[in-house]
Subunit: 224 residues, 2 copies
Amino acid sequence: MKKYIPILKRTQLFSGVGEEEIGAMLNCLQARICTYKKGEYVLRQGEHTDTLMVIAEGKLHIQRDDYWGNRSIINMVSAGEMFGEAYVAPESGALMNDVLAVEDSVVIFFDVKRIITVCPTACRFHSAVVQNLFFAISEKNRRLVQKITFMSKRTTREKLIAYLSEEAKRNNSSEFSIPFNRQQLADYLSVDRSAMSNELCKMRDEGMLEFEKNRFVLHDAVTA
Amino acid sequence: MKKYIPILKRTQLFSGVGEEEIGAMLNCLQARICTYKKGEYVLRQGEHTDTLMVIAEGKLHIQRDDYWGNRSIINMVSAGEMFGEAYVAPESGALMNDVLAVEDSVVIFFDVKRIITVCPTACRFHSAVVQNLFFAISEKNRRLVQKITFMSKRTTREKLIAYLSEEAKRNNSSEFSIPFNRQQLADYLSVDRSAMSNELCKMRDEGMLEFEKNRFVLHDAVTA
DNA sequence: TCATTTCCGTTGTAAAAACAACAGACTTGT
DNA sequence: ACAAGTCTGTTGTTTTTACAACGGAAATGA
């Protein structure tokens, strides 16, 4: 557990909190560690959880498969980020999604009630953690809205443009890598993979962009 | 301002807080009131805000219009609910959406920094408000994910079924009203209104459901 | 009350997406 | 090094959607 303190120090949740304080909080927040191999599920749809989870290593997908096998990737969570904030309210009910490790991952569980119930004792940095948590969930909110903005476009091409230009903006560069392979990107944008692949190649042939694997370069027409 | 205290008492944000405490907090949180006529914008895309807003009366749409005039309704916010939580973080940037009053509305603005910065002085109920805020934003998160689940369906029919059966579940009844007219529902699900209208009528003809205006009755095949 | 506007369903056509099936390049593990 | 599996692009067909245009019913407002 102690070996992860330096990692935790660089997460959103513990930003601005010293290593000693984190060490002290681990007990207070009843931290537990679990490791998952690529392809394993951290949580399944229908389960209940009341913990906040921080990714120490690896990468997870928050996703959902429907009756027909169509997969929808709701969100991607990387090392340093967290998830489960949406289910901390008492009446939040069962999980709507699966949580899948897409890389070998290490996840640290925290008792979230301990975080939002301000502990009357020590914990000088507790309020900093509350603020961090608040900012993080607020940011996640914006990310979901952004995803909705991509998905709300009518055509696959528009969805791709919306997504790729946002990624370019985030990276401050017209050249960037995306964290998805083709199938995952299609699942994220809720379109058919082959149709999307086809559209990407058309866009390339029209000179809008270049790509190789998950590395993209947008040309002026797209970024404008 | 005082006249809204009984209303505020029944909002998510002030749940469990007495009227006297709310009155005291109004100053602490620098509350301001604004009224909007149906059709007026509360906020526009690109603006900046660092306030939390509670709807005392009326109804708002969080939405976005693109270059081609396609409107996407991200979310609907009714009396007693709040919005703006996603933009309280310092680096949250400009608003991605418009906020439109779809009914005559009264909105109360709060300085959110005052809320999440635990005031060292009195405010016995401050921590209750922090928790309420946390639960509210967490619930909004789940609603966004739910909307994504609707939108991720491949066909208009599947989107309708996903949305309508969720509404039935929320109402604990196969008979319920929806808060949208046809155009708004289409904008919410990101589909064409006429195509959606067409699909709804087909579903009715096939005996899956009945409707009149915004009142729906689902039959077994749909709810199952 | 009457004129105007909004709302909703209908139809036909053109465009786009889903789907299925396949082949080559590349990875992976043994 | 080789076999098995994965990833990506390609093509053709079918289904679905978007789009445009219209008419009638209902709501609105002067």
